[in-house]
Subunit: 491 residues, 2 copies
C-alpha cells in the first residue's frame, strides 16, 4: 500500500509560499463557517512514521486555524484511571463538541499498532481493537462528525537519511529520540501493521489519506488542501450523508427477559425488613470480595413514573460504602451535553474498577421518552438499539457487570401512587403536571418498552422485569437478582 | 468540645413523624427556591464518628430533597491521577454549580484527620492542610457558596454498644467493618484530632454543627432543620455577607520582576534560527530529565494583543513531545464555567506530573480585562491578587514550576503589527474591531499591568517581563528563561 503513495508534485518556493498563504486564509474562513453554520464536530487524526513531521503538522494546523476552537489531544501510556475503565473511555473524553475541531495526535490507532508491532497482543486482539475503532468512528459519523485521518509516510531510506542529518548536527541531535531509532529499526514491521490497521478502518465516512512526507512543507500543503476541501463539503446543503449501517455486533437473546412476580400472599413489613437486611448484607459482602476490585457494577433502573425506582435505589445504596458508589439521576440532556454524541454523557459516568454506578433512568431514554415524544427522529432511535448493545458490550468486556431492571407498575397502581403523592406535601414534587401528561401517553409507551426489552436483552447485559406493584417484593427481587448475578460473575 | 455536645430533645413517635414530614416538604420548597432565585451553590459536609449514621444521613438528605439537583461525593484513597496533581485538585472537582447542592461525605477533612490519627503526618503538616482547607472554604464563601458542616457524634460507650448490637445479629453483622472496629479502638484519639480540625476550620461563613447522634432519626431531624434554616437565610435580601478577608499567605517579592531587553544590534535570522534550535534542544532534554517526571511545568503568557504570545508558544511546543503538553487558549468563561468559582476552570487544566501546560492568557484576565472592562467589580478583582498568589502557591507546593511571562510590546509596534495583519488575509482573523477598541483602552491597562506585576511577582511564581518588539529576542529570551528555571529546579 505504502509503495504506491503518490509522490507530491513540488512547487518552486515562491509559488509554494503563495499557495500556503491562500490556503491559510481559506482554512480560517471555512473554520468559522463550520463553527457558525454546519455545527458538526471535526476530527482530524494525524498519524504516520516517526520523523515524518507529525508533531510539526499538529503545530502547523494550530497556527493556520484559530486555535481557540481546536482541541489537540495525544495519548500517553494508560494511567491507573484509564486502565480502570473500558478501553475506549479515554478516547470518548477527547471528542470535540459540535462546530469545534479535535486534532488527535496518532488517534486511537497508535495504541493498537504499537502493541501489535511489539507483539504484545495477538492478531485476534488487534483485529478486535480495530473493530471497536470502526464502530466508534461509525458512531461519530452517524452523529454528524467529519472525520479525516492522515498517515504521513516516509520510506525506510528517507527516514534513515532524515535522522542521520539531524543527528550529525549537535544542535539538532536532540530531535532524534531513542524511540525514533527503534522505530527506524522496525520500519518494515510498523508499515505492515499500519497497513493492516488502515485497511481495516478506511471508510468513506472516515477516510485515510496517505501523504508522501518526504518534503515537509509540501506534505503540509497537501494535508491542508484535503482538510479545506472536506470542510467546504460539510457546508453544502444536505452534506451529511450518513454511512450505511454496520452489521450488528451483539444479537439480542432469543429468550425473553425473566419476569419476577411477587409471592401469592403479600409479605409482612417485619418479614420484609428482615429479608432486606439479609440481602443488603449479602450484597455488601459481595462488593467487598477481593475479586470485585477488578470488576465494577452498573445498575440501570427504568420504569414508568412512580414505579419505585428511587426507593429501590436507596435500598441498595444503604448496603454500600459511600466512597464506592454514585447515583446518576438521568434527565433530559443539558445544552452542554447536547453538543456531543448522545452516548457521550453516559461514557463520562462509567464506573471505574471496584465501583458501583446506579442509573435512575439511563441511555434507554433514547428509545423510550425520546421516541414517544419525538425528540429523536426514527432514524436515530431505531439505530439506538444496536448502539446500546455495542456500548453495553464494551462495558461488560472490561469487566463491568451490567444489570438492567424494568420496574413494571400497573396503570391502576400508578394512579393510586399519584393520588397518594398529591396528598403528601413532601411527595408533591414527585408528581407534576408532566407526570399526568406522560400517563396519558401510556399506550404509546407500551410498544416502545416491548421493543426495548426484546432488542436489548443480551447475554452480557440482561434485563430483569420486576412486577413492581408490590414495593417490598420489587426491592427484594432486585437485591436478590443483583446478588445472584454478582455471585455468578465473581465465581 | 465533644463532651458538651447538646443532647437532643426526643419527641414521641407521632410528633417525630409529623415533624419529619413537615421538614421534608419545607426542605423541598426551599431547595427549588435556592435553585431558581438565590443561584448560590450549597455545600454540605457530613462527617462524624463511625457508626453514627453518616452514610444513612447522606441517603436521607437525597431522599428528602430532589436528588436530581444534588451531587454526592466521597473520596477514596488517592489514585494515580490524584497523586499527580496538587492536593486540593480533587476537591475542586466536587464543587457544585450555582443553585445546586453538593453533599460531601466526610468532606476534605477525613484525609487530613485520618493521616494525623494514624500519625502519618506531623502536626505541622496537619495544620498546614487545615490552613489550606480554611483558604478553600473562604474562597467558596467569598464566591457566594453556602457552606454547612456537620459532625455526627457518639461517645465511646454508645459507639461500642451500637456495634455490639449490630454484630450480635447475623443479619446485621456485615454493617460493622474491620475499619469500624479500628475506629472504635481509636475513639479517643480520633475525637482529639477531629476537635483540633473543627477548631481550626470553624468560621461564621463555614460553621461546624456538632450533632448528638445517639438517636438516628432525631439527629437527622436536627441536621435537616439546621439545613432548612440556612437555606432559607440565603433567600433573604442581601443574604450573602462576605466573610472578612484572610491575612495574605503569600507576600509579593519586594524586588521588581526582571526585564529582558534585546541586544543592542538586532539578531540576524540565521543566528536566531541556530540559537532557537539550540535552546529548544536544551529545553527538550530538560523535560526528558528523570527528575521532571515528578514535577510539572505551567507557563503563563500575558501581553497586549499582537505581543507575540502565540508565536512564542509555538516555538516552545516545537521542542516538546505532543503527548506531554497541552496549550490552553483562554477566552472569556463560557456559560457553563461561569457557574463555578472563577478559578475553577484553571484548576481543571492543572498539568499532572511530568506534563507541560501552556496558557495563552490565563487567570490574570481577572485583574486585566475584567478589571479594565468592569466585568468584575472592584471588590472581586482586588481580592484576586491574593487568590492568585495562594492558587499558584498550591501548584508550586506540589512541584509545578510556574513561569509567567509578560510580553511587553510598544504601542507603535502594536500598531505596525495590526496594520500588517490587516494586509495579510490569513492573519486577518487575528485582528478584529475589538482589538482596535482594546488598543484605545491602552491607558487603562497600564496601571492594571503595573499592579499585577507588583502584586503577583512571588518567589514561587515569578514574572519575567520580556521586551517583545523584537520577536526573535522575545522568543529566545523566553526559552532561555525556561531552561534556566528548570535547571535550577531540577538541580
Amino acid at each position: 500500500m505504502f509503495d504506491t503513495v503518490a509522490g507530491i508534485a513540488r512547487l518552486e518556493d515562491a509559488r509554494l509560499d503563495r499557495a500556503l498563504a491562500r490556503l491559510r486564509a481559506d482554512l480560517l474562513d471555512v473554520q468559522y463557517s463550520v463553527l457558525e453554520q454546519a455545527k458538526r464536530p471535526v476530527i482530524v487524526v494525524i498519524s504516520g512514521v516517526a520523523g515524518a513531521g507529525r508533531g510539526r503538522l499538529v503545530n502547523t494546523l494550530n497556527e493556520w486555524m484559530d486555535p481557540r476552537h481546536i482541541r489537540t489531544s495525544a495519548f500517553a501510556p494508560r494511567d491507573e484511571a484509564e486502565r480502570a475503565r473500558p478501553h475506549m473511555w479515554r478516547y470518548w473524553q477527547a471528542l470535540p463538541s459540535r462546530g469545534r475541531t479535535a486534532i488527535v495526535f496518532q488517534g486511537w490507532y497508535a495504541e493498537a499498532v504499537d502493541a501489535r508491532v511489539g507483539r504484545n497482543i495477538k492478531r485476534r486482539v488487534f483485529w478486535h481493537r480495530l473493530h471497536q475503532i470502526r464502530r466508534f468512528e461509525h458512531m461519530l459519523a452517524m452523529d454528524g462528525a467529519l472525520l479525516l485521518k492522515f498517515w504521513l509516510h516516509l520510506d525506510a531510506e528517507t527516514q534513515r537519511a532524515r535522522f542521520k542529518t539531524l543527528r550529525k548536527d549537535p544542535a539538532t541531535r536532540w530531535r532524534v529520540t531513542p524511540e525514533d531509532m527503534q522505530e527506524l529499526a522496525r520500519h518494515k514491521r510498523i508499515c505492515r501493521v499500519a497497513e493492516e490497521a488502515i485497511r481495516l478502518s478506511d471508510a468513506a465516512h472516515a477516510p485515510w489519506h496517505l501523504i508522501d512526507a518526504s518534503d515537509v512543507p509540501h506534505a503540509e500543503l497537501e494535508v491542508g488542501r484535503i482538510l479545506l476541501h472536506a470542510l467546504r463539503g460539510t457546508l453544502k446543503q444536505d452534506a451529511h450523508v450518513r454511512p450505511p449501517a454496520l452489521p450488528p455486533v451483539v444479537i439480542a437473546s432469543e429468550e425473553p427477559a425473566p419476569r419476577l412476580h411477587p409471592p401469592a400472599s403479600p409479605r409482612r413489613k417485619s418479614d420484609y425488613e428482615t429479608e432486606l437486611e439479609r440481602l443488603q448484607g449479602r450484597l455488601n459482602l459481595l462488593l467487598r470480595h477481593p475479586a470485585f476490585s477488578r470488576r465494577a457494577l452498573a445498575i440501570v433502573f427504568e420504569g414508568m413514573d412512580a414505579a419505585g425506582k428511587g426507593g429501590a435505589i436507596r435500598r441498595i445504596t444503604r448496603a454500600l460504602d459511600a466512597r464506592t458508589y454514585r447515583v446518576h439521576p438521568v434527565a433530559a440532556p443539558t445544552e452542554h451535553e447536547r453538543r456531543y454524541p448522545w452516548l457521550w454523557r453516559f461514557w463520562r459516568d462509567v464506573p471505574r474498577d471496584g465501583r458501583v454506578a446506579l442509573f435512575d433512568r439511563s441511555w434507554y431514554g433514547r428509545v423510550l421518552v425520546e421516541r414517544v415524544e419525538g425528540f429523536a427522529v426514527e432514524q436515530d432511535w431505531s439505530r439506538a438499539y444496536e448502539e446500546i448493545n455495542a456500548f453495553e458490550r464494551e462495558w461488560s468486556e472490561h469487566g463491568i457487570v451490567v444489570c438492567k431492571f424494568w420496574l413494571e407498575v400497573s396503570s391502576d397502581e400508578q394512579l393510586r401512587r399519584f393520588n397518594e403523592r398529591g396528598r403528601q406535601r413532601f411527595k408533591r414534587f414527585k408528581i407534576t403536571p408532566e407526570d399526568w401528561r406522560n400517563r396519558e401517553k401510556w399506550p404509546q409507551y407500551v410498544p416502545a418498552v416491548q421493543d426495548m426489552l426484546a432488542r436489548t436483552h443480551t447475554e452480557q447485559a440482561p434485563w430483569t422485569i420486576v412486577a413492581a406493584d408490590d414495593k417490598y417484593h420489587a426491592r427484594l427481587a432486585i437485591l436478590q437478582t443483583l446478588c445472584e448475578r454478582l455471585e455468578a460473575e465473581l465465581g
